[in-house]
Point group: C2
Amino acid sequence: MATETVENYIKAIYVLCRESPSGEAGVVRLAQEVDVTKGTATSMIKRLAKLKLVKAPRYSGITLTTMGKKVALDVLRRHRIIETFLVSTLNLDWADVHEEAERLEHALSPRTLDRLDEFLGRPSTDPHGDPIPSASGKVSELRGKALSAYIKGAKVEIVRILDQDRAFLKFVAQSGLKPGVCVTVQALSPEGDSITLQVKRGQSVTLSSSAAAKILARLQ
Amino acid sequence: MATETVENYIKAIYVLCRESPSGEAGVVRLAQEVDVTKGTATSMIKRLAKLKLVKAPRYSGITLTTMGKKVALDVLRRHRIIETFLVSTLNLDWADVHEEAERLEHALSPRTLDRLDEFLGRPSTDPHGDPIPSASGKVSELRGKALSAYIKGAKVEIVRILDQDRAFLKFVAQSGLKPGVCVTVQALSPEGDSITLQVKRGQSVTLSSSAAAKILARLQ
DNA sequence: TTCAAAAGTTTGACGACTCAAACTTTGTTG
DNA sequence: CAACAAAGTTTGAGTCGTCAAACTTTTGAA
Ligand SMILES: [Mn+2]
Ligand SMILES: [Mn+2]
Ligand SMILES: [Mn+2]
Ligand SMILES: [Mn+2]
Protein backbone atom coordinates (compact mmCIF):
# COMPACT_ATOMS: atom_id res chain seq x y z
CA MET A 1 0.00 0.00 0.00
CA ALA A 2 1.00 3.55 -0.66
CA THR A 3 2.10 5.47 2.41
CA GLU A 4 0.05 8.39 3.75
CA THR A 5 2.51 10.88 2.29
CA VAL A 6 2.45 9.20 -1.11
CA GLU A 7 -1.35 9.23 -1.11
CA ASN A 8 -1.37 12.94 -0.36
CA TYR A 9 1.01 13.76 -3.20
CA ILE A 10 -0.91 11.60 -5.67
CA LYS A 11 -4.22 13.15 -4.75
CA ALA A 12 -2.75 16.64 -5.09
CA ILE A 13 -1.30 15.78 -8.50
CA TYR A 14 -4.69 14.50 -9.60
CA VAL A 15 -6.45 17.68 -8.57
CA LEU A 16 -3.80 19.92 -10.15
CA CYS A 17 -4.00 18.02 -13.44
CA ARG A 18 -7.79 18.50 -13.46
CA GLU A 19 -7.37 22.21 -12.86
CA SER A 20 -4.66 22.95 -15.37
CA PRO A 21 -5.59 23.38 -19.04
CA SER A 22 -2.51 21.40 -20.09
CA GLY A 23 -3.59 18.45 -17.94
CA GLU A 24 -0.20 18.44 -16.24
CA ALA A 25 0.88 19.38 -12.73
CA GLY A 26 3.87 21.56 -11.87
CA VAL A 27 6.37 21.14 -9.07
CA VAL A 28 5.88 24.56 -7.48
CA ARG A 29 2.09 24.27 -7.27
CA LEU A 30 2.37 20.71 -6.00
CA ALA A 31 4.82 21.79 -3.32
CA GLN A 32 2.38 24.49 -2.22
CA GLU A 33 -0.47 22.02 -2.14
CA VAL A 34 1.25 19.45 0.07
CA ASP A 35 3.05 22.18 2.03
CA VAL A 36 6.70 21.30 1.43
CA THR A 37 9.58 23.05 -0.36
CA LYS A 38 9.95 22.57 -4.10
CA GLY A 39 13.15 20.58 -3.58
CA THR A 40 11.24 18.13 -1.42
CA ALA A 41 8.52 17.87 -4.04
CA THR A 42 11.06 17.15 -6.75
CA SER A 43 12.62 14.31 -4.81
CA MET A 44 9.22 12.85 -3.98
CA ILE A 45 8.23 12.99 -7.64
CA LYS A 46 11.30 10.94 -8.44
CA ARG A 47 10.13 8.34 -5.94
CA LEU A 48 6.60 8.37 -7.34
CA ALA A 49 8.05 7.80 -10.80
CA LYS A 50 10.04 4.83 -9.48
CA LEU A 51 6.78 3.50 -8.02
CA LYS A 52 5.21 3.86 -11.49
CA LEU A 53 2.55 6.22 -10.16
CA VAL A 54 3.55 9.26 -12.23
CA LYS A 55 5.33 10.19 -15.44
CA ALA A 56 7.64 13.14 -15.00
CA PRO A 57 10.11 13.92 -17.79
CA ARG A 58 12.90 16.13 -16.50
CA TYR A 59 12.02 19.84 -16.44
CA SER A 60 8.58 19.03 -17.78
CA GLY A 61 5.02 18.47 -16.52
CA ILE A 62 3.87 15.74 -14.15
CA THR A 63 1.06 13.34 -15.12
CA LEU A 64 -0.42 10.32 -13.37
CA THR A 65 -0.06 6.82 -14.78
CA THR A 66 -3.11 4.55 -14.90
CA MET A 67 -2.02 3.14 -11.56
CA GLY A 68 -1.56 6.64 -10.18
CA LYS A 69 -5.06 7.64 -11.28
CA LYS A 70 -6.46 4.58 -9.56
CA VAL A 71 -4.75 5.52 -6.29
CA ALA A 72 -5.95 9.12 -6.59
CA LEU A 73 -9.57 8.16 -7.17
CA ASP A 74 -9.40 5.70 -4.31
CA VAL A 75 -8.16 8.36 -1.89
CA LEU A 76 -10.69 10.85 -3.23
CA ARG A 77 -13.49 8.34 -2.70
CA ARG A 78 -12.43 7.81 0.90
CA HIS A 79 -12.05 11.53 1.47
CA ARG A 80 -15.48 12.42 0.16
CA ILE A 81 -17.35 9.62 1.86
CA ILE A 82 -15.76 10.65 5.15
CA GLU A 83 -16.70 14.29 4.60
CA THR A 84 -20.27 13.26 3.92
CA PHE A 85 -20.38 11.25 7.12
CA LEU A 86 -18.92 14.04 9.20
CA VAL A 87 -21.47 16.55 7.96
CA SER A 88 -24.61 14.47 7.61
CA THR A 89 -24.23 12.15 10.59
CA LEU A 90 -22.03 13.98 13.09
CA ASN A 91 -23.24 17.47 12.14
CA LEU A 92 -19.78 18.93 11.89
CA ASP A 93 -19.38 22.24 10.16
CA TRP A 94 -19.27 22.20 6.38
CA ALA A 95 -16.14 24.32 6.43
CA ASP A 96 -14.22 22.18 8.92
CA VAL A 97 -14.55 18.68 7.56
CA HIS A 98 -11.90 18.88 4.86
CA GLU A 99 -9.01 18.98 7.32
CA GLU A 100 -10.45 16.13 9.32
CA ALA A 101 -11.02 13.97 6.25
CA GLU A 102 -7.46 14.77 5.18
CA ARG A 103 -6.26 12.60 8.06
CA LEU A 104 -9.02 10.00 8.25
CA GLU A 105 -8.81 9.16 4.54
CA HIS A 106 -5.60 7.23 5.20
CA ALA A 107 -6.89 5.09 8.03
CA LEU A 108 -10.00 3.36 6.67
CA SER A 109 -9.94 -0.23 5.43
CA PRO A 110 -11.93 -1.08 2.29
CA ARG A 111 -14.47 -3.02 4.33
CA THR A 112 -15.09 -0.19 6.76
CA LEU A 113 -15.33 2.29 3.91
CA ASP A 114 -17.97 0.16 2.26
CA ARG A 115 -19.98 -0.13 5.47
CA LEU A 116 -19.82 3.62 5.89
CA ASP A 117 -20.91 4.13 2.29
CA GLU A 118 -23.81 1.77 2.84
CA PHE A 119 -24.75 3.50 6.10
CA LEU A 120 -24.87 6.84 4.25
CA GLY A 121 -27.06 5.41 1.50
CA ARG A 122 -24.33 5.36 -1.20
CA PRO A 123 -24.21 9.13 -1.78
CA SER A 124 -23.05 10.38 -5.19
CA THR A 125 -21.60 13.70 -4.04
CA ASP A 126 -20.02 15.07 -0.89
CA PRO A 127 -21.23 18.12 1.07
CA HIS A 128 -19.39 20.48 -1.29
CA GLY A 129 -20.96 18.87 -4.35
CA ASP A 130 -17.76 17.06 -5.27
CA PRO A 131 -18.60 13.75 -7.00
CA ILE A 132 -17.70 10.58 -5.12
CA PRO A 133 -15.76 8.14 -7.31
CA SER A 134 -17.26 4.66 -7.47
CA ALA A 135 -15.52 1.74 -5.79
CA SER A 136 -14.36 0.66 -9.22
CA GLY A 137 -12.71 4.03 -9.85
CA LYS A 138 -15.14 5.91 -12.07
CA VAL A 139 -16.09 9.52 -11.56
CA SER A 140 -18.19 12.05 -13.48
CA GLU A 141 -16.47 15.39 -12.99
CA LEU A 142 -18.69 17.35 -15.38
CA ARG A 143 -21.77 18.85 -13.75
CA GLY A 144 -22.65 22.47 -14.02
CA LYS A 145 -20.82 25.59 -15.16
CA ALA A 146 -19.29 28.44 -13.18
CA LEU A 147 -21.84 30.96 -11.90
CA SER A 148 -19.91 33.63 -13.77
CA ALA A 149 -20.78 31.95 -17.07
CA TYR A 150 -24.54 32.50 -16.85
CA ILE A 151 -26.51 35.43 -18.25
CA LYS A 152 -28.68 37.89 -16.38
CA GLY A 153 -32.00 36.43 -15.32
CA ALA A 154 -30.84 32.84 -15.36
CA LYS A 155 -32.41 30.68 -12.67
CA VAL A 156 -29.86 28.10 -11.56
CA GLU A 157 -29.21 25.54 -8.89
CA ILE A 158 -25.86 25.56 -7.08
CA VAL A 159 -24.21 22.15 -7.54
CA ARG A 160 -20.61 22.40 -6.43
CA ILE A 161 -18.01 24.55 -4.69
CA LEU A 162 -14.49 24.20 -6.11
CA ASP A 163 -12.52 25.29 -3.09
CA GLN A 164 -11.73 23.67 0.27
CA ASP A 165 -10.60 26.88 1.94
CA ARG A 166 -12.35 27.28 5.29
CA ALA A 167 -12.82 31.04 5.07
CA PHE A 168 -14.27 30.78 1.58
CA LEU A 169 -16.60 27.96 2.59
CA LYS A 170 -17.76 29.91 5.65
CA PHE A 171 -18.53 32.85 3.41
CA VAL A 172 -20.40 30.69 0.90
CA ALA A 173 -22.50 29.08 3.62
CA GLN A 174 -23.15 32.49 5.17
CA SER A 175 -24.42 33.72 1.82
CA GLY A 176 -26.75 30.73 1.57
CA LEU A 177 -25.06 29.29 -1.51
CA LYS A 178 -24.67 25.62 -0.54
CA PRO A 179 -25.25 22.94 -3.19
CA GLY A 180 -28.94 22.34 -3.77
CA VAL A 181 -29.90 25.98 -3.34
CA CYS A 182 -31.63 27.77 -6.26
CA VAL A 183 -30.66 31.32 -7.14
CA THR A 184 -31.34 33.89 -9.88
CA VAL A 185 -28.64 35.92 -11.61
CA GLN A 186 -29.76 39.45 -10.85
CA ALA A 187 -26.97 41.52 -12.34
CA LEU A 188 -23.64 41.15 -14.09
CA SER A 189 -21.08 43.91 -13.94
CA PRO A 190 -18.05 43.36 -16.19
CA GLU A 191 -16.72 46.75 -15.08
CA GLY A 192 -17.11 45.96 -11.40
CA ASP A 193 -15.89 42.43 -12.11
CA SER A 194 -18.77 41.10 -10.07
CA ILE A 195 -22.05 39.22 -10.17
CA THR A 196 -25.17 39.73 -8.04
CA LEU A 197 -27.46 36.87 -7.15
CA GLN A 198 -30.92 36.75 -5.66
CA VAL A 199 -30.91 33.90 -3.16
CA LYS A 200 -34.37 34.21 -1.67
CA ARG A 201 -37.06 36.79 -2.20
CA GLY A 202 -35.48 39.95 -0.89
CA GLN A 203 -32.05 38.52 -0.15
CA SER A 204 -29.24 39.10 -2.61
CA VAL A 205 -25.48 38.58 -2.62
CA THR A 206 -22.70 40.09 -4.69
CA LEU A 207 -19.63 38.03 -5.57
CA SER A 208 -16.41 38.86 -7.36
CA SER A 209 -15.94 37.03 -10.65
CA SER A 210 -13.11 35.00 -9.17
CA ALA A 211 -15.36 33.84 -6.35
CA ALA A 212 -18.20 33.12 -8.78
CA ALA A 213 -15.82 31.06 -10.90
CA LYS A 214 -15.38 28.66 -7.99
CA ILE A 215 -19.12 28.04 -7.65
CA LEU A 216 -20.69 25.70 -10.18
CA ALA A 217 -24.39 25.74 -10.99
CA ARG A 218 -26.82 24.31 -13.54
CA LEU A 219 -29.94 25.70 -15.16
CA GLN A 220 -33.35 25.52 -13.50
CA MET B 1 1.12 16.36 19.72
CA ALA B 2 2.54 12.90 20.14
CA THR B 3 3.21 11.06 16.90
CA GLU B 4 1.24 7.93 15.97
CA THR B 5 4.18 5.72 16.90
CA VAL B 6 4.63 7.43 20.24
CA GLU B 7 0.92 7.00 21.00
CA ASN B 8 1.13 3.31 20.24
CA TYR B 9 4.10 2.79 22.55
CA ILE B 10 2.50 4.76 25.36
CA LYS B 11 -0.76 2.86 25.10
CA ALA B 12 1.10 -0.45 25.11
CA ILE B 13 3.09 0.59 28.17
CA TYR B 14 -0.12 1.55 29.94
CA VAL B 15 -1.70 -1.82 29.24
CA LEU B 16 1.44 -3.75 30.25
CA CYS B 17 1.69 -1.84 33.52
CA ARG B 18 -1.97 -2.70 34.29
CA GLU B 19 -1.30 -6.35 33.60
CA SER B 20 1.92 -6.79 35.51
CA PRO B 21 1.78 -7.25 39.30
CA SER B 22 4.79 -4.97 39.73
CA GLY B 23 3.01 -2.17 37.86
CA GLU B 24 5.96 -1.84 35.52
CA ALA B 25 6.43 -2.70 31.86
CA GLY B 26 9.41 -4.58 30.41
CA VAL B 27 11.25 -3.91 27.18
CA VAL B 28 10.82 -7.40 25.70
CA ARG B 29 7.04 -7.51 26.21
CA LEU B 30 6.70 -3.96 24.96
CA ALA B 31 8.67 -4.81 21.84
CA GLN B 32 6.35 -7.75 21.22
CA GLU B 33 3.30 -5.59 21.72
CA VAL B 34 4.28 -2.89 19.24
CA ASP B 35 5.95 -5.44 16.95
CA VAL B 36 9.52 -4.19 16.84
CA THR B 37 12.88 -5.59 18.00
CA LYS B 38 13.91 -5.03 21.59
CA GLY B 39 16.71 -2.72 20.46
CA THR B 40 14.18 -0.50 18.75
CA ALA B 41 12.01 -0.51 21.86
CA THR B 42 14.96 0.50 24.02
CA SER B 43 15.80 3.46 21.83
CA MET B 44 12.16 4.54 21.69
CA ILE B 45 11.93 4.36 25.46
CA LYS B 46 14.87 6.71 25.64
CA ARG B 47 12.97 9.17 23.46
CA LEU B 48 9.81 8.77 25.53
CA ALA B 49 11.85 9.52 28.63
CA LYS B 50 13.22 12.65 26.98
CA LEU B 51 9.62 13.65 26.19
CA LYS B 52 8.81 13.18 29.89
CA LEU B 53 6.20 10.54 29.10
CA VAL B 54 7.88 7.63 30.91
CA LYS B 55 10.34 6.95 33.71
CA ALA B 56 12.81 4.24 32.79
CA PRO B 57 15.85 3.74 35.05
CA ARG B 58 18.56 1.80 33.21
CA TYR B 59 18.06 -1.99 33.31
CA SER B 60 14.88 -1.51 35.28
CA GLY B 61 11.10 -1.33 34.75
CA ILE B 62 9.25 1.26 32.69
CA THR B 63 6.45 3.37 34.20
CA LEU B 64 4.36 6.20 32.82
CA THR B 65 4.62 9.73 34.15
CA THR B 66 1.46 11.68 34.88
CA MET B 67 1.71 13.14 31.41
CA GLY B 68 2.24 9.69 29.94
CA LYS B 69 -0.85 8.36 31.69
CA LYS B 70 -2.86 11.24 30.32
CA VAL B 71 -1.75 10.43 26.77
CA ALA B 72 -2.48 6.73 27.27
CA LEU B 73 -6.00 7.32 28.54
CA ASP B 74 -6.66 9.75 25.75
CA VAL B 75 -5.65 7.20 23.11
CA LEU B 76 -7.61 4.49 24.90
CA ARG B 77 -10.68 6.69 24.94
CA ARG B 78 -10.40 7.29 21.22
CA HIS B 79 -9.79 3.61 20.55
CA ARG B 80 -12.79 2.42 22.50
CA ILE B 81 -15.23 5.00 21.22
CA ILE B 82 -14.22 4.10 17.67
CA GLU B 83 -14.67 0.38 18.36
CA THR B 84 -18.12 1.08 19.74
CA PHE B 85 -19.06 3.04 16.64
CA LEU B 86 -17.75 0.37 14.28
CA VAL B 87 -19.76 -2.35 16.00
CA SER B 88 -22.95 -0.57 16.96
CA THR B 89 -23.38 1.72 13.98
CA LEU B 90 -21.54 0.10 11.08
CA ASN B 91 -22.21 -3.48 12.21
CA LEU B 92 -18.63 -4.60 11.77
CA ASP B 93 -17.60 -7.84 13.38
CA TRP B 94 -16.77 -7.75 17.07
CA ALA B 95 -13.51 -9.56 16.38
CA ASP B 96 -12.32 -7.27 13.58
CA VAL B 97 -12.72 -3.80 15.01
CA HIS B 98 -9.59 -3.74 17.14
CA GLU B 99 -7.23 -3.57 14.15
CA GLU B 100 -9.32 -0.90 12.50
CA ALA B 101 -9.48 1.23 15.64
CA GLU B 102 -5.72 0.79 16.00
CA ARG B 103 -5.32 3.05 12.95
CA LEU B 104 -8.30 5.37 13.32
CA GLU B 105 -7.46 6.26 16.93
CA HIS B 106 -4.64 8.48 15.67
CA ALA B 107 -6.67 10.45 13.16
CA LEU B 108 -9.60 11.89 15.13
CA SER B 109 -9.66 15.49 16.35
CA PRO B 110 -11.05 16.16 19.83
CA ARG B 111 -14.10 17.83 18.35
CA THR B 112 -14.93 14.93 16.06
CA LEU B 113 -14.36 12.48 18.88
CA ASP B 114 -16.83 14.35 21.03
CA ARG B 115 -19.45 14.41 18.29
CA LEU B 116 -19.00 10.70 17.80
CA ASP B 117 -19.31 10.11 21.53
CA GLU B 118 -22.48 12.19 21.59
CA PHE B 119 -23.87 10.34 18.55
CA LEU B 120 -23.30 7.04 20.36
CA GLY B 121 -25.03 8.26 23.51
CA ARG B 122 -21.87 8.59 25.62
CA PRO B 123 -21.26 4.87 26.13
CA SER B 124 -19.35 3.79 29.23
CA THR B 125 -17.83 0.61 27.80
CA ASP B 126 -16.75 -0.62 24.38
CA PRO B 127 -18.04 -3.82 22.69
CA HIS B 128 -15.56 -5.96 24.64
CA GLY B 129 -16.64 -4.49 27.96
CA ASP B 130 -13.51 -2.35 28.24
CA PRO B 131 -14.30 0.87 30.12
CA ILE B 132 -14.11 4.10 28.12
CA PRO B 133 -12.02 6.74 29.92
CA SER B 134 -13.79 10.05 30.39
CA ALA B 135 -12.73 13.11 28.42
CA SER B 136 -11.02 14.34 31.58
CA GLY B 137 -8.95 11.17 31.84
CA LYS B 138 -10.71 9.08 34.47
CA VAL B 139 -11.38 5.37 34.14
CA SER B 140 -12.79 2.70 36.41
CA GLU B 141 -10.90 -0.47 35.56
CA LEU B 142 -12.42 -2.58 38.31
CA ARG B 143 -15.61 -4.36 37.33
CA GLY B 144 -16.08 -8.08 37.73
CA LYS B 145 -13.78 -10.99 38.52
CA ALA B 146 -12.39 -13.71 36.26
CA LEU B 147 -14.90 -16.47 35.51
CA SER B 148 -12.41 -18.93 36.94
CA ALA B 149 -12.76 -17.30 40.36
CA TYR B 150 -16.44 -18.19 40.88
CA ILE B 151 -17.81 -21.26 42.62
CA LYS B 152 -20.07 -23.92 41.21
CA GLY B 153 -23.65 -22.81 40.86
CA ALA B 154 -22.85 -19.11 40.65
CA LYS B 155 -25.11 -17.13 38.33
CA VAL B 156 -23.07 -14.38 36.74
CA GLU B 157 -23.20 -11.79 33.99
CA ILE B 158 -20.27 -11.53 31.58
CA VAL B 159 -18.91 -7.99 31.73
CA ARG B 160 -15.58 -7.91 29.91
CA ILE B 161 -13.17 -9.84 27.68
CA LEU B 162 -9.51 -9.15 28.40
CA ASP B 163 -8.04 -10.08 25.04
CA GLN B 164 -8.09 -8.44 21.60
CA ASP B 165 -7.00 -11.56 19.72
CA ARG B 166 -9.34 -12.17 16.78
CA ALA B 167 -9.40 -15.94 17.06
CA PHE B 168 -10.17 -15.78 20.77
CA LEU B 169 -12.90 -13.19 20.25
CA LYS B 170 -14.43 -15.29 17.46
CA PHE B 171 -14.48 -18.26 19.82
CA VAL B 172 -16.02 -16.24 22.65
CA ALA B 173 -18.75 -14.89 20.39
CA GLN B 174 -19.37 -18.35 18.98
CA SER B 175 -19.84 -19.64 22.51
CA GLY B 176 -22.33 -16.87 23.23
CA LEU B 177 -20.22 -15.23 25.93
CA LYS B 178 -20.38 -11.58 24.91
CA PRO B 179 -20.67 -8.92 27.62
CA GLY B 180 -24.23 -8.67 28.92
CA VAL B 181 -24.92 -12.38 28.69
CA CYS B 182 -25.86 -14.27 31.88
CA VAL B 183 -24.40 -17.71 32.56
CA THR B 184 -24.31 -20.28 35.37
CA VAL B 185 -21.14 -22.03 36.54
CA GLN B 186 -22.07 -25.66 36.02
CA ALA B 187 -18.84 -27.44 36.92
CA LEU B 188 -15.29 -26.72 38.00
CA SER B 189 -12.57 -29.24 37.33
CA PRO B 190 -9.22 -28.39 38.94
CA GLU B 191 -7.82 -31.66 37.59
CA GLY B 192 -8.98 -30.98 34.05
CA ASP B 193 -8.00 -27.32 34.51
CA SER B 194 -11.34 -26.29 33.09
CA ILE B 195 -14.70 -24.71 33.83
CA THR B 196 -18.10 -25.54 32.34
CA LEU B 197 -20.78 -22.91 31.91
CA GLN B 198 -24.45 -23.13 31.15
CA VAL B 199 -25.20 -20.35 28.71
CA LYS B 200 -28.83 -21.00 27.93
CA ARG B 201 -31.11 -23.82 28.99
CA GLY B 202 -29.55 -26.85 27.37
CA GLN B 203 -26.49 -25.10 25.96
CA SER B 204 -23.20 -25.39 27.81
CA VAL B 205 -19.59 -24.51 27.08
CA THR B 206 -16.32 -25.73 28.56
CA LEU B 207 -13.34 -23.38 28.83
CA SER B 208 -9.76 -23.89 29.95
CA SER B 209 -8.82 -21.95 33.09
CA SER B 210 -6.54 -19.72 31.10
CA ALA B 211 -9.40 -18.82 28.77
CA ALA B 212 -11.76 -18.34 31.71
CA ALA B 213 -9.21 -16.02 33.33
CA LYS B 214 -9.57 -13.64 30.41
CA ILE B 215 -13.34 -13.37 30.81
CA LEU B 216 -14.61 -11.16 33.59
CA ALA B 217 -18.05 -11.54 35.13
CA ARG B 218 -20.04 -10.27 38.11
CA LEU B 219 -22.66 -11.91 40.30
CA GLN B 220 -26.34 -12.05 39.36
C1' DT C 1 27.84 -19.27 44.96
C1' DT C 2 28.24 -19.62 40.30
C1' DC C 3 27.01 -19.07 35.77
C1' DA C 4 23.98 -19.55 31.77
C1' DA C 5 19.83 -17.66 29.95
C1' DA C 6 16.86 -13.84 29.82
C1' DA C 7 16.44 -9.03 29.80
C1' DG C 8 18.20 -4.90 28.41
C1' DT C 9 21.57 -1.78 25.79
C1' DT C 10 24.60 -0.15 22.18
C1' DT C 11 26.28 0.36 17.60
C1' DG C 12 26.13 1.07 12.74
C1' DA C 13 23.25 1.20 9.08
C1' DC C 14 19.13 2.04 6.41
C1' DG C 15 14.63 4.11 4.19
C1' DA C 16 11.21 7.72 4.31
C1' DC C 17 10.55 12.48 4.55
C1' DT C 18 11.99 16.90 5.17
C1' DC C 19 14.77 21.62 4.79
C1' DA C 20 17.98 25.36 3.11
C1' DA C 21 20.70 26.88 -0.23
C1' DA C 22 23.14 26.56 -4.40
C1' DC C 23 22.56 25.34 -8.88
C1' DT C 24 20.49 24.58 -13.96
C1' DT C 25 16.98 24.95 -17.39
C1' DT C 26 13.13 27.23 -19.52
C1' DG C 27 10.36 30.86 -21.07
C1' DT C 28 9.52 35.75 -21.45
C1' DT C 29 10.18 40.34 -22.53
C1' DG C 30 12.54 44.49 -23.64
C1' DC D 1 18.86 38.22 -29.14
C1' DA D 2 20.16 38.94 -24.37
C1' DA D 3 19.28 38.58 -19.90
C1' DC D 4 16.47 37.68 -16.19
C1' DA D 5 12.80 35.73 -13.47
C1' DA D 6 10.36 31.61 -12.70
C1' DA D 7 10.40 26.77 -12.62
C1' DG D 8 12.79 22.84 -11.63
C1' DT D 9 16.92 20.13 -9.75
C1' DT D 10 20.79 18.89 -6.83
C1' DT D 11 23.36 18.59 -2.66
C1' DG D 12 24.21 18.05 2.12
C1' DA D 13 22.22 17.52 6.28
C1' DG D 14 18.77 16.33 9.86
C1' DT D 15 14.83 13.66 12.37
C1' DC D 16 12.07 9.59 12.98
C1' DG D 17 11.56 4.89 13.16
C1' DT D 18 13.42 0.73 12.17
C1' DC D 19 16.79 -3.71 11.95
C1' DA D 20 20.67 -7.05 12.95
C1' DA D 21 24.14 -8.19 15.68
C1' DA D 22 27.29 -7.57 19.30
C1' DC D 23 27.44 -6.37 23.82
C1' DT D 24 26.29 -5.83 29.22
C1' DT D 25 23.53 -6.49 33.26
C1' DT D 26 20.33 -9.03 36.00
C1' DT D 27 18.39 -13.07 37.80
C1' DG D 28 17.16 -17.61 39.08
C1' DA D 29 18.65 -22.61 39.26
C1' DA D 30 21.87 -25.97 40.09
MN1 LIG E 1 -4.61 13.27 3.52
MN1 LIG F 1 -15.25 18.04 -0.36
MN1 LIG G 1 -2.76 2.57 17.07
MN1 LIG H 1 -11.95 -3.15 22.93
